[in-house]
Symmetry: C5
Subunit: 384 residues, 5 copies
């Protein structure tokens, strides 16, 4: 089986590297074919089982060990990290009775975020981004949620980056109302954490655009141009991650499903607001980046204008003077006729030539000053 | 708890400072967590209780003191200004039975404007802008309205700027029909005041664009470019404030709610018209600013064209003349052969050289005049 | 009461002056507050009462005198021109039982065109434009129509410009079917006249764009740029006047109202077609103006290219020649060594120098001719 | 009656002439007023009456002669060509019981394409375009179809261009199923012919754009710019003709009408597909033309870059050389001091000066070669 | 019968050749007219009949031989490759009872992708693209699917390129569930293969854009410009192929048809996701290409700026120096007066002239250095 992706989705991204393409099957392959990347992390499975009285954390070795927990009335959160074993993933699929297409979407990353309703299961495919501390880079991976009546299965690509820890602590510390609520509330809490994780990443773009706004007017270089294009490319990519999440959450709110209670739907409205805010920000940044490209072009034209003015002022002042000097450098023989360069023998000849040249220069300088062409000389020197 | 915002929302804005980002929680934090900024103003609570016979204004110290007024048939308007105490805000939440998410939206500013229906309460999150007298700057803060059957709770970020005074005076002076109407009419009156407050702010943009229209053609500088980009950025921001208000008010008009009477819905249609007018204006300004950017670029090109013409006219006239002068400055020895620069000893040599030069200059000037390249010399001098 | 508008709406517009802003109340003022501009024309009221047998025209002095006509089975058209008296307008409002918000919309001009349904009254706020004969300027004012069962109230800002005369003549002359129809047909006839009035105005824009199309390629100046921006601004403004009319008439056609008969709805479909045609034309003109801006920028670049070619051709031909002349103007002493400028004493020295210079010039001219740089010399001279 | 149109709609268009404006009435004129252009062709009326057994073609002189055919079970196709007689058109209107607004739309050309349902009649206003053989120009006129139960009335502006001949031959030759079907099938057949007539016209635009794509990169001139703008203008116009036809046919398919049988609706889906294909093509051409404008601007900048490089290379090589020559042309008196230009009397003075000059030139040429500025010299010469 | 297409649709495309136009009939021709291109491949018909127990592959010579298989409960897949015989295609049409319009769409290629519901048959017209190994070119042809209760008819233009082989192997090898499912599942499997075939083709565009991103900043040439325009043109074309497929599959999912089982609809949702992912990618590439055009223009301006700076620096340094040299090349007679060029006889005259020239040059160099104009000299030299 041949797979081709531009970039593995579970990677840490430097700001220069966008992720822009989806996973696709070899044309004609049977549905449900799993694609295990060589070198992918082996899956580790952790089960957190809780209700308002207890909360247990169990490390799972064989997927079949999960089965007894699924029917119990307590909430069972099965968290899988790593996609490196087809065997374990297939057995997980059997334990949770996953449709082959669901397993395919979970394993063959990256997929477009979406929500699918399989009557007794809601499958949510979404993306996590996490700012790496101390850098402008961020990690990005696919997270899939399968919500059942009493359980929630989450599958992540990599164990390294994970924004679910605060939720785990709320369960352990019995903080807020999470222990008294069902699996649907847990799904909401995780979605909320995923979505809030986009904000710090977007903020970095805000800062980068702000830095560019100064650069583009003061000192537009070739690197500025590359940076603007780069930001446009990355925002396109972020927008593609966020748009379908908005649709997915909207579907969750509007369509009544037995798996989502009325109370949790109110909380999901809050999630929806946050996604809309994210889109608002992305669109604003996109329009700003687009406007920056216009500013860049105008700014380069401005610079060229200043260069041209300098050339023009200096050339047009000295070229006529050089002509005058050239005239009196001619070798016509004053002795051959009285009309041949009599100026050369005038008493005031040389001073008169200087006077003519000074007058020409003064006239041109006055002409340029009237046009305001000297303004840029002063504004430019203020720069440093 | 870590919070990050680009800019506190309850600030006075100079026209150069846009507010572009929303408040967001630390990813994974429990819903309902309040974020009290250190240094925020302590809340002051004022209750105005009125019906067609009486109108009282009471300063409230403990939120619980409000409870008795909420059930009475008179309208109770509780106005809270300042978000500086978590304790008082939580107690207010209890008195009004606010959903934790509502309290979060009210306190964790700024949020995207929206409307939410909690059956016995309508929650409207919106923004207030106020022109500061004598300046082009304006103040902006979030205002939240919670409408119940007999009461209206309003929460503002800061006491300093407030556009509700005319409404308070209408209540006190029993002007218009406000004293005879319910809490829903009060909510309409406040929304109307908030929305009308956007008009003078937008007008300032109209004036700034008009000023730029002259500047961009007459004298486009680097500052002009910055100003255009600045206006585009701020209009984007204003649009983001106004769009969701349109949706919110539209929801109020279309969806029947027990809390809004039929009569007040008719008044809200008027509010809706005003929001649509605001959007019309913002979109028009945005298109004008966009067109200005095109004009700027063309205008800079135009200027460069004039500079180039000046350089070309003067250079191309004098360069051939200088060549002629150079020729007769050569030192070929006329005595070595009759072909060596015999002109130098001609009787009319020097006048003939001048004649050649004048003829060349005249030919070139005629050529440029035919092309109309002298037009810009005259138009430019008319400028001052 | 403070009001602020960029421009009184009942003014005669020169093509250079757009009307771009709506009337707005002082924030917080009570609904229904009327704004009488000082200096506005005093209202004159004319009643035309007609059915298929008779048609009377009565000058009304006190609004209350209208009351008896309102209930009669004949159609009563009350035409008010001028908004200069609060007293008369308030009394008119009482006679017609107008909602305070309706009276506000009618008096506080300009408003966004709209339609409102008050069960026993349909209120249509729209705009009239009229070409002033012999000029490119046009007059623009707000016209409000209040349609009842047996009456139609129309309110205009100014008596000077009025496009209803042909309808009055059709009533007087009993031309067409107007005398046999109800008030709804009269409303249609007036709306139709208002909408058809936009066509000649738009035609002027078509002519202005056509004139610019020639100018922008042949001779793009700074004025051309201003004109293009101006047209874009005015078309934005016209579009804002026409769009809401389209929505309003569409509402009239689709929603069944007791006040509009089925037959008149068929006529209104015709009105709707005309508004859509207007929008079609405005959008086409907008796209053409936008394309013109692109053409302008390209055209300026083209011109600069021609200027640069001229400079380059002349400079690069003469600069090497001047260098050659300069070389033989050097004063190295031929007597100091046989290598010092022996050319100066050669028999064919001077002719050889000329030969070298002619060869260089011919080579460069051939080089430029191969590149086709001389093409613009000929094309430019064809211009006059 | 005053009418104003930019261009009579029944004209043969050269590719340079767009048709962009609709017919409009004098504002305030009564509905149903017909506008007969002086000089318009007198109408000729031809009736083709057929069923599966017979097919007759009758030249009609008085419209009333049509009446007996209208009720017969055979299909009667009345084809009117020419709009030059108000009398005949009014009588036709009476014979077919046309609503005055229908007659107005049919006669006062051009109108926006549309469909209107008058219960016992379906009125379709559409446009015909026909490529003129051997040219790039095409003819354009309005065609109106009035479909009744057993008849179809078609009205064309001019007899000269007509794309219905193949349909007439199918009727005469009893080819395909047309003779066995009703009037609705005939309407479909004519609509299909009209729509298919747009394809060859659009193809011409495809060819013109393809030609421009080469021209714009190889040799962008002022004419190229005009051609691109021209194409954009004409495509706007074509799009305005086609869009409303799509809506009209979509209405025919979706709304059930007694006049259109289920079988013919299936055929109309095919028509609809073709209109959508036309729109697809128009939009593609529009985007290509828009991209061409960008290419043009970049291409002109590219050309200017080459011109500038030529100027810079030649100027910056010779200007320093000329300076060196100028230095040794100075007349300082070597006898006045040993520091005054001793070079002039050196044995190797002149060769050394040449050596300096050659070194400077070589250095600069190396510098420019490293920057790759000579590349354009070779690429340009490959051109011819 | 005259047909005209820009390009036969069953061709192998080099990346430079877009396919942009649809097939169209001669205007006025009868519906159902088939267009057999001379030189088209003769059709070969292969029948694959299978159920969970058996799978047979039969080469069919006469279309009528298919009839017995169509009613059997086993799935019959009739695959036709080549459109070169009207006779065979007509007989196929009879065997499958195809509507004349269906046969027309299948044979007269290319058509816009679409789905049509003929009650007992679903007709899907779609496109296949296949990357040719080892090249950037791809093959494109129309594939039509006619789905009946127990059969599936597929018609391809050419036998050469075919992406159905993996599906044939899954049937033969009884791999996956395909042998146990109906004709609808087979249709899904083929559609899935067709859609997945677009991914590798799009990937090539991603690579081409990535290559251009480097080229456009580092070394923008005329070829770069052509390539960007080329990519925009081809992406427009690909988008036109994919958009209607999205609509078609969406129709399949939403509308319940007896021919598509509930289970297969779930699989089609997966197909739909893939089409949406394709559109996502196309739109992203289109926006990137559009941004590249902006970058190109800015990059060319940048380059010109560097050229201008070089010219300006060198010209403005040497022109004043040349003037100074020119002054002392004048021939005023020092003996005629003490004011006539006494410098020539000064003891330090020549060194002083040099000092003045060096001072001027140093001043100008400092001036340019302060402006940062020398930066580009170093950055440019780093290039190689």
């Amino acid at each position: 089986m041949v797979q081709k992706r531009f970039q593995p989705s579970g990677l840490v991204l430097e700001p220069e590297e966008p992720y822009i393409d989806y996973f696709y099957d070899t044309p004609g392959s049977a549905p449900g074919t799993l694609n295990i990347e060589s070198g992918a992390t082996l899956p580790t499975i952790v089960l957190i089982d809780y209700n308002h009285t207890h909360a247990t954390r169990i490390q799972i070795d064989t997927p079949e060990a999960i089965t007894p927990y699924l029917d119990s009335q307590s909430v069972s959160w099965v968290d899988v990290q790593g996609l490196g074993s087809e065997d374990i993933l297939q057995r997980l699929g059997n334990v949770f009775h996953l449709h082959p297409l669901v397993l395919e979407d979970v394993v063959n990353v990256p997929q477009r975020p979406k929500i699918e309703d399989y009557e007794d299961q809601l499958v949510i495919v979404t993306r996590m981004v996490m700012l790496r501390e101390g850098t402008q880079g961020f990690a990005s991976e696919q997270v899939s949620l399968v919500l059942g009546k009493y359980y929630l299965l989450t599958v992540q690509e990599e164990p390294e980056y994970d924004c679910f820890n605060p939720v785990r602590q709320r369960i352990r510390a019995n903080k807020g109302s999470i222990r008294g609520e069902g699996a649907d509330y847990l799904a909401y809490a995780l979605l909320d954490a995923l979505i809030d994780g986009f904000f710090p990443v977007l903020e970095v773009y805000g800062e980068r655009i702000e830095a560019l706004e100064d650069e583009v007017v003061a000192n537009p270089t070739r690197q500025t141009l590359e940076k603007i294009h780069q930001i446009r490319r990355e925002l396109l990519s972020l927008r593609r991650s966020i748009w379908p999440q908005r649709d997915a959450i909207n579907t969750l709110i509007r369509d009544s499903s037995d798996l989502i209670s009325r109370d949790v739907q109110i909380y999901l409205r809050d999630c929806y607001d946050h996604v809309v805010q994210l889109l608002d920000m992305v669109e604003t940044y996109r329009e700003l980046a687009s406007s920056l490209m216009d500013v860049y072009l105008s700014s380069v034209s401005n610079k060229m204008n200043e260069v041209m003015k300098t050339l023009t002022v200096i050339s047009t002042i000295f070229i006529p003077l050089t002509f005058v000097a050239g005239v009196y450098g001619m070798n016509f023989n004053p002795e051959a006729s009285p009309f041949n360069m009599p100026e050369l023998n005038w008493y005031w000849g040389y001073p008169a030539a200087w006077a003519v040249m000074v007058a020409i220069a003064a006239g041109l300088i006055y002409f340029f000053w009237r046009r305001g062409w000297f303004s840029n000389f002063s504004t430019l020197q203020k720069k440093d």
